[in-house]
């Protein structure tokens, strides 16, 4: 009896092994689909941590899955590269006065359960964010005072102050159906896990923690522009070795990960199809603690601008993937239209140690007999420079920066704390010099208000919101206020140009390079990805990209 059961178990085990080696799930070979369609595309990670749970609540930024990007839509879609708003669920918008914005909604849009989309849904969504502050992750109710449906196709929004500065946020707030969400007791703890209802081009087809599959929504309002039938997202291990290997084998049609030596590891494996584009993100800058000498001296900071070898940092610490940053705080060339006209080289400072040396001496910081740079008190200037030790590319940049400063006669202690200690010390102002990130968004108000407004700062020892250098300048505050209440683009441009002058003339921080947005894509099945030659959107503008993809080999637009 016993023996026969053992034999049976062995037989079953053998059968299992056989079945398993023969079958690898649902994978099937497929090139471009029939009749000018793409059967499916393989995407990278879909978020939700290492053990993702079904979560399609578009406002739970920390735990929702990437599917929400394709299931839900916004009033407008922002091209975050060129900073252009595209009509989406709204076809047009008018500022009837600086504090009133009227949206005309698109006709004929349906939720994927067949119910019609209307102004009630928009009003419901915005009111829900007002009631549940935990869902208002863009902080839109800092600006709004009321949202009303004028008629089923028109929404009127009122602002507490002139609202132009908040406009980009409408490109980030997903609209949810009133008929589903009004029945939810607490939308903050609502995972929306079963068949999420949205207006977007895709619906959730299948999910398990390893793979998320989205199917095309045949009734989508611009269904003719969506040529992809299925998107398959694959759980990653955070850009590790295995993912890089799968990428190099062409197992992803697109991904967004850091790859060392991308030319050799990816492009050269299939030069005809494997492409990448790393557009610039935020500015990574030297933050000086402006409450301490000598950093509180404008002449000192200004003299330091040419002291850093940005090109060497870009080439050696950043593998040449990024570009040196403009002192203006803006991202060039994408945002060059906002710069003052007379600015040489778009504000990107070259490396000129001799000039830095001369300027420092002229500013009252000469070298002493030992070649050490001394402060106004006659003592050698010594300070610490911190980057998180776990961020190895920043640590490499730190070496170059410390070498640059040491050659000017400064005594610099390179420190590499944990990211938590670094973040905490940065927030409470317990540092001399460190690297920080700011700007990079299409929202010019945010780009300057967050790092420079005095109300984002705090006394040393208290946590600052985002003004970590503790820049406190009434004129800057006034310009930021002008920018916030500016009612048209011309007025915004004047304020931004003046703020870039604050950056170049008073140097609250010294930008060195731009963080990169990682983006790899393959043209074996689909073409029409945004690229350096055709930068119609940023890599994260999913809705815009998915409506631009075409099967390889067809030119139909």
């Amino acid at each position: 009896m016993k023996r026969s059961r053992l034999a049976r178990i062995a037989a079953v085990a053998a059968a299992v092994a056989l079945a398993a080696s023969g079958c690898t799930g649902t994978e099937q070979k497929s090139g471009p689909g029939t009749d000018g369609r793409i059967a499916y595309l393989d995407y990278g990670d879909f978020g939700g941590g290492s053990n993702p749970q079904a979560n399609y609540n578009p406002y739970l930024d920390a735990s929702r899955l990437g599917a929400t990007e394709y299931v839900f839509e916004q009033l407008i879609a922002y091209d975050n590269y060129g900073c252009q708003a595209k009509p989406w669920l709204a076809t047009e918008w008018t500022w009837t006065n600086p504090q009133t914005l009227v949206w005309k909604l698109r006709q004929g849009v349906k939720w994927n359960d067949g119910k019609p989309f209307s102004a009630d849904d928009v009003v419901f969504t915005y009111d829900m964010l007002k009631q549940h502050k935990a869902l208002d992750t863009k902080g839109i109710w800092r600006y709004l005072s009321a949202v009303e449906a004028t008629d089923p196709q028109t929404v009127t929004m009122r602002f507490t102050q002139p609202g132009a500065a908040a406009f980009t946020l409408f490109g980030e707030i997903k609209i949810v159906p009133k008929h589903v969400w009004s029945a939810v007791a607490d939308p903050v703890t609502f995972p929306n896990a079963e068949k999420p209802v949205g207006t977007g081009p895709f619906t959730v087809k299948a999910f398990n923690p390893q793979q998320l599959t989205l199917g095309r929504n045949a009734d989508y309002w611009q269904a003719d522009k969506v040529k992809v039938d299925e998107l398959r997202f694959h759980k990653a291990d955070g850009g590790g070795q295995i993912d890089q290997l799968k990428l190099s084998r062409g197992e992803y049609d697109t991904n967004a990960m850091f790859v060392p030596d991308i030319k050799k590891a990816y492009v050269d494996r299939d030069p005809a199809h494997n492409k990448y584009w790393f557009p610039s993100g935020g500015s990574i800058s030297v933050y000086m603690n402006l409450t301490k000498a000598p950093f509180n001296d404008t002449a000192f900071r200004k003299a330091l601008v040419p002291a850093f070898n940005r090109q060497e940092i870009v080439d050696k610490a950043q593998l040449g993937y990024v570009k040196p940053a403009s002192q203006t705080g803006l991202v060039v060339p994408g945002q060059a239209g906002w710069l003052p006209k007379d600015l040489p080289n778009q504000g990107v400072a070259g490396y000129d140690a001799a000039r830095a040396d001369a300027d420092l001496t002229a500013a009252g910081y000469p070298r002493n007999g030992d070649g050490k740079r001394v402060g106004k008190d006659g003592k050698p200037i010594a300070f610490s420079f911190r980057v998180p030790g776990a961020w190895t590319d920043w640590v490499q940049a730190q070496r170059i920066i410390v070498a640059n400063l040491t050659s000017l006669g400064f005594t610099v202690r390179a420190e590499t704390p944990t990211p938590e200690a670094y973040e905490n010390d940065r927030a409470i102002g317990n540092y001399d010099m460190l690297l920080g990130v700011h700007g990079g968004s299409c929202n010019m108000f945010r780009n300057f208000q967050e790092p420079l407004a005095s109300d984002q700062s705090a006394p040393i020892g208290k946590k600052a919101v985002s003004n970590f250098v503790r820049w406190n300048d009434p004129r800057t505050d006034q310009l930021i206020d002008t920018l916030r209440t500016a009612t048209d683009e011309a007025a915004q441009k004047t304020a931004v140009a003046d703020l870039t002058k604050v950056m170049t003339e008073q140097v609250p921080m010294i930008p060195l390079w731009y963080g990169a947005k990682w983006f790899q894509y393959r043209t074996a099945k689909a073409t029409g990805w945004p690229s350096e030659e055709n930068p119609y959107a940023a890599p994260s503008d999913n809705l815009i990209i998915i409506t631009n993809l075409r099967p390889t080999g067809t030119n139909a637009k």
Binding site: V16, A17, A19, A20, S21, C23, T24, G25, T26, E27, G48, G49, S50, N51, Q53, N55, N57, Y59, D61, A62, S63, K133, A134, L135, D136, T137, K138, G139, V188, F190, P191, A206, N208, Q210, Q211, R232, H234, K235, D237, I242, L245, G281, G282, W391, P419, E420, A421, E423, N424, V437, H438, G439, G440, S441, R446, E450, Q456, V465, S466, G515
Partner: protein, 331 residues
């Protein structure tokens, strides 16, 4: 009986200390969970949006009352088995997340621990039985050599050879993207296939400790007077080895085995990370790195309680297996 009562009191005391420490330690760590979440979302090269930080702070909520009130609330919740909502997997509860991860770990690590213990004890016994022979040198030297190999290197080597070069087994995960968890043959065979490489990695290194421990204990116990007396009396060698040597030598390993089984609940961080296995170890690592205090606390608590219970049971078992212990404690 006094022995068992004393063991039980000791168990309760340790349990209380563990639960209390588990409450205190996360609160002494630096770092704000909301900040950790937002900086993870923004990534290294993007600036953090203060509005998002504010919203997430509201979402997570702040603990009410002073530390003592929080402690009482915590004790009450722990007794009811309520560990709150996970921060990283909001709005899913900690209990739900552990329920998802626990079966993977218990099956993979539990089964390999048991096999390791059996194989290790048998090999150790064999080595001691044939001590100083060629078999002994092969087993002892072989396991010492394998034991010096870094585990992650071994695991990566397995992945490289069997998953990437030969493509016999999948390189990571607990199951493939095509199947969905359930009691279907496709899923079970898929999960089995995914478990082979991590299991092999665990089985290569797992028995080593048991082998060395068992061999050394047994060699020692075979050298004791009663074993020599048995030899002098002319008892069969095999009987001496098994009843006089192995039976005594296995005692310390029983405690070790019980603790190993208890710690299964915490998973094996290294194995699960290298193979991206959806078990408790990876969940623990993730909760620590993202400051998910509720999840972290619950996993630590599970592990501690697992080890304590196992230790307690081993103590009880010991009392039965080895009368000397019982007598020594009561005397």
């Amino acid at each position: 009986m006094a022995y068992f009562a004393r063991r039980f009191a000791f168990f309760l005391g340790t349990l209380w200390a563990a639960v209390t420490l588990n409450f205190l330690i996360p609160r002494l760590q630096p770092g704000d969970p909301a900040e950790a979440i937002v900086s993870r979302l923004a990534g290294q090269s993007e600036s953090v949006d203060p509005a998002q930080l504010q919203a997430i702070r509201i979402m997570l909520g702040a603990p009410d009352g002073n530390l003592f009130d929080q402690y009482l609330q915590y004790l009450g919740a722990v007794v009811q088995g309520d560990f709150g909502v996970s921060y990283t997997y909001f709005p899913y509860s900690v209990t739900h997340m552990i329920g998802e991860a626990l079966p993977w770990t218990v099956i993979l690590v539990g089964v390999t621990q048991i096999i390791s213990f059996i194989v290790g004890t048998l090999l150790g016994t064999w080595a001691a039985y044939r001590r100083n022979s060629r078999v002994d040198s092969v087993i002892t030297l072989g396991s010492t050599f394998l034991g010096t190999l870094p585990f992650f290197w071994l695991a990566l080597l397995l992945i490289y050879v069997f998953a990437i070069t030969l493509r016999w087994f999948p390189e990571r995960g607990g199951y493939g993207g095509g199947s969905s968890p359930g009691w279907s043959w496709i899923f079970i065979s898929d999960a089995f296939q995914h478990s082979v490489l991590p299991a092999v990695a665990l089985l290569i290194t797992g028995p080593i400790g048991w082998i060395i421990g068992m061999r050394n204990n047994m060699v020692q116990s075979l050298g004791e007077d009663h074993a020599r007396l048995a030899v002098a009396r002319g008892l069969p060698r095999r009987r001496i080895a098994l009843t006089y040597g192995a039976r005594i030598a296995i005692l310390p390993n029983v405690t070790g085995f019980a603790i190993a089984l208890g710690s299964v609940l915490g998973g094996t961080v290294l194995v699960e990370t290298v193979f991206n296995y959806p078990g408790m170890g990876r969940l623990l690592l993730e909760s620590v790195s993202s400051r998910d205090y509720p999840l972290m606390q619950a996993i630590f608590l599970f592990t501690t309680v697992g080890v304590l219970v196992a230790n307690f049971l081993a103590d009880l078992l010991y009392g039965f297996l080895d009368p000397r212990v019982r007598k020594a404690e009561t005397a």
